[in-house]
């Protein structure tokens, strides 16, 4: 018994270290993509949501100005840019509905504004991105013109 184990032992001593290294490499190869697949999209999505939220806050401030009785497009855009600049969002724009005459809004007329910013200039520096869209957009913010 002792002799048997003695004759096999050196073989065993060599092989396990080699096989273990291989197993770890395989496991790492399996794990890493999984971790990357879970982490990067999560970072990407939450960062985009954060940018969307900040665009919405800036749009909210802009629409209050636009909705005031003497509100103008210029005043709304000025306020919007003050906020997005403070939030560090690059090249953001205030979007308007095509079918609404913002210069001549009637009292109580419903209208919306939306903030947008290019994704390429506002994304996290990750090696890859899942989004197929080139622009981050806030949701439309609705208001009625005050009288």
């Amino acid at each position: 018994m002792f002799g048997c184990s003695k004759t096999h032992w050196p073989k065993r001593q060599r092989t396990p270290s080699g096989s273990r290294a291989g197993v770890e490499a395989v496991e790492a190869a399996l794990t890493l993509p999984l971790l990357v697949l879970l982490t990067f999209p999560m970072l990407h999505i939450t960062h985009n949501w954060h940018t969307q939220k900040m665009l919405k806050v800036a749009t909210f401030e802009a629409i209050k100005v636009m909705g005031s009785p003497d509100g103008t497009i210029e005043a709304a855009e000025r306020v919007f840019h003050e906020y997005v600049d403070a939030f560090g969002i690059r090249n953001a724009q205030l979007e308007f509905a095509n079918n609404v005459d913002y210069d001549n809004l009637n009292t109580d007329q419903l209208f919306w504004l939306r903030g947008s910013a290019p994704l390429t200039q506002n994304r996290l520096p990750l090696p890859f991105h899942l989004s197929f869209e080139s622009t981050i957009r806030s949701s439309e913010v609705y208001y009625r013109k005050e009288g």
């Binding site: 065993r12 396990p16 096989s19 273990r20 197993v23 770890e24 496991e27 399996l30 794990t31 999984l34 971790l35 879970l38 982490t39 999560m42 999505i45 939450t46 949501w49 954060h50 969307q52 939220k53 919405k56 806050v57 909210f60 629409i63 209050k64 909705g67 009785p69 009292t107 109580d108 419903l110 919306w112 949701s139 439309e140 913010v141 609705y142 208001y143 009625r144 005050e146 009288g147």
Partner: protein
């Protein structure tokens, strides 16, 4: 019996794989949780924006006296529009508006020393509260679970304001603004009828006529009046409805003066008097003041500023004013108080009753430090005007305060 090294090695084979398999589920759950948390926060912003905008528009509509039924319908629709477009599922799908609950309450907000207190259901209605409650949180197949609800609540009140303008009618208001003295000679006064009288007695006394009557162009009074007219014209442009009253002050004196009919009469002034009770006829109130001191009553006496503040406070707190409105006193003086108690003590008393006291010094002879202190004690602000045009700008600035405040 302890396991041999061989057995241990056999057990270790695939241990990492099992660990990964065991950890992958919690990892996915954590990722899922992180995303849901981010979505929760985003929906909180969406609901707050929905409530804020609906309440803001609602308060504006209240000030325009739109019917409460219409306001309720439109404010609810506005909150739902914003929520539907703002609360986004993980798939970007817009949610069903039936999932959101929008509660709207009308009531009265009362202001006291800059503290707002909203009472739902109270009259008169000057405020609206909008509460939006939506499901959010853990996302399951693109839909948030209803178990987690996000609340956004906003109350916006219209700042109704009762303004009392307290003007100085002491003798120095007939001074010329630049020389601080009665500058005009009898020939310069276009309304000096005595100078042109055929009666030698009256001609001899022609200087006495303009003694207590402000020159229509070259007097502090005549410089002040256009600014007060501008204030009256500006008030209707503000979004709130303001009750406007005028109080004047000098000191209690009795003197003989020639009136506009060239009759020598005895005129008695009181320390302070109500020129116009609180009303919405701003221009009429100013015209009444203008006509009285141009044609009917001379401007004379000392400067009892405290008497003006005390009477102004009485008017603002009287039955003709509104208990839920902001109380603003605009105190104007061209000089130094020389009768009565210290004006800052009167301003402190007014402030303790919820009145903010703005002070304006007009002319370079005014005691600015005392009026700065009076404004400070009155929880207001001090302004100085060297010219009638500057006074006009100050009045307009005071009139244009924000129409609404967020109560919560």
């Amino acid at each position: 019996m302890p396991a041999s090294k061989k057995q241990l090695r056999l057990v270790r084979h695939g241990a990492s794989a099992i660990l990964i398999m065991a950890m992958i589920v919690p990892l996915i759950i954590i990722s899922f949780f992180a995303l849901s948390l981010a979505n929760l926060e985003r929906n909180e912003v969406a609901t707050q924006v929905s409530s804020d905008l609906a309440a803001m528009w609602g308060a504006n509509a209240i000030s325009r006296e739109v019917s409460l039924v219409t306001i309720e319908d439109r404010a609810r629709a506005l909150a739902l529009d914003n929520w539907q477009h703002g609360s986004i599922t993980s798939t970007g799908k817009k949610l069903d508006t039936n999932q959101a609950e929008v509660q709207i309450e009308f009531g009265t907000t009362r202001f006291f020393n800059h503290i707002a207190d909203f009472t739902p259901g109270d009259l008169p209605v000057n405020s609206i509260r909008v509460g939006t409650e939506v499901p959010s949180g853990i996302i399951v197949f693109g839909q948030p679970l209803r178990a987690l609800l996000v609340n956004g609540k906003a109350t916006v009140a219209n700042v109704e304001r009762d303004i009392c303008l307290v003007v100085d009618r002491s003798g120095s208001m007939t001074f010329d603004l630049t020389t601080d003295w009665w500058h005009q000679s009898k020939e310069w006064h276009p309304e000096n009828k005595m100078a042109n009288s055929s009666d030698p007695y009256l001609q001899d006394r022609c200087n006495q006529w303009w003694w207590a009557w402000p020159h229509p162009e070259n007097s502090r009074w005549s410089d002040m009046m256009p600014a007060i007219y501008a204030l009256a014209a500006e008030i209707p442009n503000t979004q709130q409805h303001e009750l406007f009253s005028i109080v004047s002050y000098s000191s209690a004196v009795t003197e003989y003066r020639y009136d506009h009919s060239l009759v020598r009469r005895q005129f008695t002034t009181t320390s302070s008097s109500v020129e116009s009770q609180p009303s919405y006829n701003y221009l009429e109130a100013v015209q009444k003041l203008d006509n009285k001191y141009k044609f009917e009553f001379p401007i004379m006496g000392g400067t009892n500023i405290a008497a003006g503040i005390d009477l102004g406070a009485q008017v603002l707190l009287g039955n003709s004013s509104r208990p839920y409105a902001f109380k603003t006193m605009i105190l104007m003086t061209d000089g130094q108080y020389n009768v009565g108690r210290e004006p800052w003590l009167a301003a402190r008393d007014a402030a303790e009753q919820g009145i903010e006291v703005f002070t304006i010094t007009f002319s370079n002879g005014a005691e600015i430090d005392a009026m700065v202190l009076t404004a400070k004690e009155g929880r207001g602000k001090h302004f100085h005007a060297a010219t009638g045009e500057e006074l006009r700008s100050i009045f307009i600035e005071i009139a244009n305060t924000p129409p609404g405040v967020f109560v919560e």
